[in-house]
Amino acid sequence: MQLIKPGTLFKSPFFLRGVFVLSLLMLLYISSVSYKHNQALTESSELLVHSYKIQLQLEHILSLLKEAEIAQRGYITTSDSVLLRPYKIAPGQIYDSFLRLKSLTIDNHEQQYNLDTLLQFINYRFKLMALTLQSSEAIPFNETEFGINLLQGEHLMEDIQAQINKIDRRELLYLKSHQQTYEKEALFSPVSTFLFMIFSLLIVILSFLKINKDLHVLKKSNEQLLIINESIKHAEVIGEFYISQWNQATNELVFSDNLYRLLGVEPQSFPPTIGNYLKFVHPDDKHIVAKSEESIFKDEKNDPGFYRIIRKDGEVRYIMSVGKFIHDENNRIHIGIGKDITEQHLSNVALEERNHELEQSIKELESFNRVASHDLQEPLRKIQTFISRISEKDKGLISESGKAYLSKIETSANRMRILIDDLLLFSRTNKAEKVFAKTDLNLLLENAIQELAQNIEEKNADIHSDPLPEINVIPFQIHQLFVNLIGNALKYCKPGIPPEIKIECTKLTSDQYPAFIKDKGKKYYKITVSDKGMGFEQQYAENIFLLFTRLHQKLDYPGSGIGLSICKKIAENHNGFINAEGNPGMGATFSVFLPA
C-alpha cells in the first residue's frame, strides 16, 4: 500500500485558485474585446447609413434642381404656368434637404464648408433660372441674354454636379477609411479571441485533469484511511488499548469504541467527557488521571500514567496511558492512548514476588555458606585437633579396639572436612567474580602439577603434556580444573601400576565439533586429560558430572563426588563444555572445550 504524501493534496487548492483567476481574467478580456468589436460594427453600420442618407439627400437636391430646370424649360417652351409648379416648390424642398444635410454633417467642418459652397451654387442657379425666366418673358425677348443665361445655367449645373460629387467622394472616403480601421480590428480580434478561447479551453481541460487526479488521489487516500481506521479498530481490540482525541480549539473529545469495551460497556454508550470517564477510575487513582489532565492543560504534555479502572462488572483492570500533541494547520489535537496492562502488571507482580523469594533463598544460601565455611568447620576442626591430641599424647593408654575406633573417627572427620571444603569450592565456583584474563595455560597446568606433586610422587605417575595455548580464562578456575582432572586421573589409577596421564590440546575446526556445540561460528580449543586407569562404563559418562555422584565405593576411592561437578561448572563459566569417555579397565578421557 502506497501512502499519499500530504503535500500533493495541500498544494492543489493554490493551483486551482490560480487557474480560476487566470480564466476569469481571460473571460473578462474576451468579453471586452467582443464588446468593442460589436461597438465598432454598430458604428460602421451607422456610418454607412449616414453616408447613404447624405447621398440620398444630395441626389434628391440634384433631382429637384433638374426637375426645376425641366419645369422652367417646359414653361418657356409651352408658357403653360402649370408646368412651372415643380420650379416653384423646388427651392423650399431643396432647402429642407439642405438643412437635413447640414444637420447630418454637423460635426464635419469640411463637409459643412462644401455644403455651403453647394448652397451658394444652388442659390446662384436659382437666381440664374429666375433670370432666364425673366429674359424669356422679357419683351422684347433678348435672345443673346437668354442664350448666355442658359449657357451659364448649364455650366453652373456642371459645377453643382461636381460639388455634389465632391461631397459624395469625401463621404465615401470617410467611409472607406473607417472601413479600413474596422477591418483591421475585425481581422485582429477574432484571431486573438480565438487564441484566448483555445488557451482558456486548454486551461480548463488541464484543471479538469488535475481535479480529476486529485479526486482520484483523494479517493485512494480515503480508502487507505478507511483501511487504517479499520486496522486501528482491530488492533485496539487485539492489543487491548484505546485512543482518545481532544481538540484543543473546539474542546471536542472523542473516545474510540474500544475504550467503552475496556470499561465493559457498549461502544459510545455515554457521551465522551472526562467526567464520565473518571466515574470508572478507581477512587484511589482518580487523582492520577486528574493530575495528568491538569498537566496537559498546563504544560501541554503528560507523562505515562498508571492507574486502575473498575469495569462495569466490578472487575479491576490496570491501565497505562500516554499522550501526545499533534498539530496540523489550524488545530492542536491531543492523542491519548491507554492500554490495558492488567495481565502484564499481574505477571510483573508475580515475577517480583518470585524475585523476592529468590533473593530470600539466595540470602539463605549465603548464610548457609557462612555456616558451612565457619560455624561447621569450627567444631570439626576441634574434633580433629582433639583426635590428633589423643592419638599423639595418649596413644599408650588406649586399647587396641579403642585405637581402631579412634582411627575410624579420624577418617570420618577427614571425610567431612573434604566434603565441606569441596562444597565451599563448588559454591565459590558458582558465585565468584568471573574476571577473565589472557593467560598462558602452560603456567596454570604447571602450578596444578606442583600442587599435586606429593600425590604424583607417591603414585610414581608419568604426566605428559602438549604445549597449551594462551587464552582468555578465569585463571584460578582453570587451575582448579587441571587440579581436579589430574587428581581424578591419579585417584582412579589401577592399583600397583604407575598412572600414565596425557594432556593434549588441539584447535578444532568447525567440522570437528561434537554435536553438543551448536554455535559453529565460534572457535574452540579441545583440551583432553586422558589416563589408562580404571575407566568407567560409557553409560555413566553424563552422570559423573552431577553433584555427589560417585561410581565407586567411598572406601576404595575417597572423594566427595563434587570434583567433576566443579569442572563442569568451570567449563560453563567459560562458555565451554566438558565431556567424558570411559572404557572399563582401559582408562578415561575428559575433554574440555574452551572458546579460543
Binding site: 565455611s373 565457619h374 568447620q377 569450627e378 570439626l380 576442626r381 576441634k382 580433629q384 585437633t385 590428633s388 591430641r389 599423639e392 572436612r417
Partner: protein
C-alpha cells in the same frame, strides 16, 4: 635472648587451650598471655605501663568487638605500632584475608585442624624474620600456610 611476648585474643576456650599447649611444646622462650574477646584485648592494650606484646594473635570472629574492629583501633594507637599482628582465624575467606591485609595485619594464618600442624605454624610465625616481614608488606606471603 629475651623471651618473646605473645598475646592471643580468642573467645573460644578450646582454641586458647590448644594455643597455650602448643607453645608449651615449642622449644622457644615465650611468655603467653590470652584475653577472651576484643573488648578485653583493647582494655588490656590501653593500660598504662604494660609490657607491649611482640606478637598479637587476633581471632576475627569474636563477640562484642570483632578482630577487624580491634585491628582498626590498634592501627590508630601510636604506642602499638611496633607490635606484629597475626590474624588467627577459622575462615580463610578471600574477603577476610583482603580486608585484614589492607588494614595492616602482618600475617594471616588459618587455624589448622591438627595439633602438630598448629605447633608447626606457630613455630614458623614466631621464628619469622619480623624485620623482613614488616618492612616489605607483601600480599603474596601474607597468608602463611604450611
Amino acid at each position: 635472648m629475651r623471651p618473646i611476648h605473645v598475646l592471643l585474643a580468642d573467645d573460644d576456650e578450646d582454641d586458647r587451650l590448644f594455643f597455650t599447649e602448643a607453645f608449651e611444646e615449642i622449644k622457644i622462650d615465650t611468655i603467653i598471655r590470652t584475653v577472651n574477646d576484643g573488648v578485653e584485648l583493647m582494655n588490656h592494650l590501653n593500660q598504662e605501663n604494660i609490657q607491649i606484646p611482640n606478637i598479637l594473635f587476633l581471632d576475627l570472629n569474636m563477640p562484642r568487638k570483632t578482630g577487624i574492629d580491634c585491628l582498626l583501633e590498634i592501627k590508630q594507637l601510636p604506642h602499638l605500632q611496633d607490635m606484629a599482628i597475626v590474624i588467627y582465624s577459622t575462615s580463610s575467606s578471600e574477603k577476610d584475608i583482603e580486608d585484614t591485609f589492607v588494614q595492616g595485619a602482618n600475617v594471616y594464618i588459618k587455624k589448622p585442624s591438627d595439633f602438630n600442624s598448629l605447633k608447626k605454624i606457630l613455630e614458623d610465625v614466631i621464628t619469622i624474620n619480623w624485620q623482613y616481614q614488616t618492612s616489605g608488606l607483601n600480599r603474596d606471603n601474607f597468608m602463611l600456610s604450611l
